[in-house]
Symmetry: D2
Subunit: 344 residues, 4 copies
């Protein structure tokens, strides 16, 4: 059994990691930490967990010492030191924050306002979106787990971009996210009466996930890609729907696009390419690690509309982190992640 | 007092017309009809109305005879005959359906599968989006009230398109609608457990509002405009958020766009142009005839992102129909439509 | 025109007062105050109000000076001084807080922990639930506006209790409230992801509205009444459903109960007694001042089940306050309060 | 591996059975049937299941022949014949419908309008609420799985009733259910715009679960118990909250009640007795087989308020059915049912 620990266990991503690790057949949730709730049981913070996870939150140091793999679910800027500590002790470090995601330190400075204090460590890190970069992840020990939008958008577009079926200029990602993505912290925007029956965009063309999506698409395209990215806040708990628009290159037709996607994802358990005529819906992937993708062509304007649906807390955070753990530890990649999305 | 009647009063748009007409100071809700509920009081169908509107549903003929203005809220294809009847009797006919909206009969054939049986009547009709076509509406008696998406999208884009600030090729309208837009009829998609906590696109690049939006934008641009239009279904009752993307023409900057919108809408009571930094939200226009518009520029890609929020049942249907009635009868355009959107 | 002012205008009850006063034909919203947002326009706090209420929040003193009637929507304990100030200046004071509601100071001490600093002022105050105590309200200038549960429960039970149709021992009020009742302040319990898809009781048999409900029922019964009161939090914005249980006295039958209610409420515009077979639903009274009441008899156990539905922000707060203003100023009691509840 | 089959697999309870059986380590979902969708894959009806359960729906006969245990999720009246068929072939039959739940045929006639065609078969059946009747279930092959309300209410009250701590006269169960309890069939009441933001009771003191709850409580009390039972419809997908009121017998105090519950449930994995001061919440048991119970005493009126929360589709239907399967087949009772309720 792999001894797994979660730092920042009482935030939403941390709590979801705990839920998933507890049903993992080859990992044991061994230690938790939380700055806000040190000394409290996780089930005091989340009564849903009572009787199934009554572990008490300790310190980050305790987690590092007790575990083989350490998941960090922290605000950005706090992971670098922790990663170094894990690295020094030979532990696997899986970061759900943003500190190791951007290869170009300039991007990090511009969008996050920090810098890379330990460049060697950054060089050891890998950006770990398994469906796209599986081969580079194996054997690594500093794992940058992607963000939520940055999983959904690339998975919607990857085959088209990689195979050059669409123009890389003018790509638009219009994304709609459930509110758990904003975390457990209280804000006026997530106060029930003000979000309920509402819907609005936020951080329009200014969200920090922009350079991360562009980094992935640029790797796939083999050239620098810029996109327009607009996230919206949905009055639902979970799920990100990404409606992505890209101009088809001249001569590319519907069948060609479909075949490309079928081929690209044919061995991917977690990507479900929907049949023609169906639309991806966050309703169908909740609480699971699936990414549903539907394809639509607007013949009148020559536009590919690729839509993906993920659970922001699972495939967009904790589930993918466990998928990466499986990869790193040489387990079957789907281990502990085959939960069926409920039908309702 | 204008005697107003509603045909199709028990559908959602019809019921909303009744609610708004009942608080109109210069109109009197005089007669209702409903095929499904003939002989029943409206308040039996909608108990919310008990004590305030206990009118009984009669036949369409009764409504036409009793009223000065007849609002029809019917499935498409049923309005043409009714319009002819009203026209013959010198009544004002305001159609909330699609039968008179498309100027080009070919478009109607292609998207709705019907034809224009009385071309003279169609020639008398006017497409009545007051903020854009006010001058053509006055004096008319066959009024084609716009649809919901077809109000929200043009109001988001009109100043930019009219003034040539954006390329007319490649415009994308990503719209999110509350479920009342789908009406009172029962469907699996509007069954509570299947819509709740869900979100998905539908009729992707194939929705009948496409040619209607294009018709309006083409008039504004003075050239044929094609757009990519993708509607989504939201788990809320009311509201349409339209996130519209258009490439800025070279040299157009943020200030220029803002000034154009400010100028274009400076006398429009129902269009609220939000200050820089705010985002349109359906939460803020519910139960009102307002259209909130927010402007965003993506400098990195040269894209205008114009977002509008309307209540699909008010500005997107019944409210705008009353606004048109006011126009046609020479009343102050805002009469009976100054309800304040609740803060929550 | 009555000059009306709102102290505590940026809380939920205050904001709702502003919305309703702005559509009142014989009152003018003249001045606002807010401690948290002094100097800000109300529409900055609630963008829904933009263009319709851009009044700036000033100080409480400014409101008192500028207005004929002052509504206070403040946390308990803050109204006593304000009431004295209004009284001294000959202004009408309508308190939406709890400071003047309990006739027995001991109750106030026990449940709120404060005391009555100015007993003379308390002697001038009147508990103002118009349908039950109308005659005592006219001519008063210190008005204690009832709370939300304390409106819904008595209106469900009043005829039965007043006419002695039920035992006054063993009455149970199981109430379900929308979350606006908890106000604008942020709490974990009103954080969207934690309330959404949830439902739980709170302050079980320990809610401060208990003595207030008992005071009203005791007046009606002519004897001391104690009840069991359990409030629950609903994942909706507005509305309180009160399901009230009382044992029928021997020999009392269904027809007798129905006739009693019909007679008791026959002249009450705001109380809608539903026909047999229908159930009160918060869906049908939203945004209105109505109280829907449905009656049910459990013959098997001899129990009256009386259910009421009110909008907690309107009949349960701001609407009733305006109803009281109308009464005090000699206006038609329904003035400005005939908004139709939307059907959806 | 136990071969398990589901008859009525495309209804909500049937679909939930499939979800849970697919993660059961000692059962294999072997065959499905559906009258409405025969010949279709379950994943065509519920796209959430794509890739994990693409079994095709066949006939009921095929299910009976292929399986060791047959779960029936059918409207009442259809199970008797099926049970006989299973009995004749030596198969275990677990009925999620009502046909075998009531011991007294007169109750069945009165509340359901049918009769018991095969009295011998009824004699073999057992009412299977494991926490209360475990010993009688083992060894049986015709299993009447309780309904949803009829699980939640008895689990809230059992210790108090069994141990005689409360009066059995005057018990009130005020229950609030998520809408999946009403099933997949379309109704106006579950049409999204009409349920959303609503809340109302239904079948007040007239719901068919009344005699079933009374049967269980009567067994516990050792005397005939009658209750007042009022169900309400909640705008959430899952969960039943049961707020149960019973008068404490003279001299019974809080500690006594608490100890009784602690003792009664000390070995029950699925019943989580919450600490004093916490309240049961459907938010905390979603998608799990748990029943959370909180206890509250109203000292002022001598009332026990016991509140339970279950997921109506799991502990209130499919999960409990699998718990019964485990019991019947001699497996650990929790097998396949230890899913953690998500924290949000």
């Amino acid at each position: 059994m792999i001894k797994a620990g979660v730092i920042g266990a009482t935030g939403y991503a941390g709590a979801e990691l705990c839920r998933l690790l507890l049903s993992h057949p080859q990992a044991q949730l061994t230690a938790l930490s939380s700055v806000s709730f040190e000394g409290k049981a996780l089930s005091e913070v989340y009564p849903a967990y009572r009787g199934l996870c009554d572990l008490t939150c300790g310190s980050a140091d305790q987690v590092v010492d007790a575990c083989d793999v350490i998941f960090a679910a922290l605000p950005h800027g706090l992971s670098q030191e922790l990663a170094a500590q894990c690295d020094a002790k030979g532990k696997v470090f899986i970061d759900l924050g943003a500190d190791f995601r951007l290869e170009n330190e300039e991007d990090y400075k511009q969008w996050y306002g920090g810098e890379y204090t330990d460049k060697q460590l950054h060089a050891k890190a890998v950006y770990a979106l398994p469906e796209l970069f599986r081969d580079q992840i194996r054997g690594k020990t500093v794992i940058a787990n992607p963000g939520c939008y940055t999983t959904g958008v690339p998975l919607a577009l990857a085959p088209a971009v990689k195979l050059g079926l669409v123009e890389t200029a003018g790509i638009i990602a219009d994304c709609k996210s459930g509110v758990t993505g904003a975390g457990r912290g209280l804000t006026q925007g997530s106060h029930y009466p003000e979000l309920n029956e509402g819907m609005h965009p936020y951080k329009v063309a200014a969200h920090r996930h922009t350079p991360e999506i562009e980094q992935t698409l640029s790797h796939l395209a083999g050239e620098k890609v810029r996109i327009t990215f607009v996230p919206h806040l949905l009055p639902v708990n979970r799920g990100i729907l990404s409606t992505c628009y890209a101009r088809l290159k001249p001569g590319v037709d519907k069948q060609q696009v479909r075949r490309a996607y079928e081929d690209f994802y044919k061995d991917e358990f977690f990507v479900r390419l929907l049949p023609d005529g169906q639309c991806a819906d966050i309703h169908n992937i909740k609480y699971s690690n699936f990414c549903d993708v539907s394809l639509h062509i607007d013949d009148r304007t020559g536009t590919l509309i690729a839509v993906s649906a993920i659970d922001n807390m699972v495939k967009g955070a904790a589930g993918q982190a466990i998928q990466n753990m499986n990869l790193v530890f040489g387990l079957e990649e789907t281990t502990g992640l085959t939960q069926m999305p409920p039908a309702f």
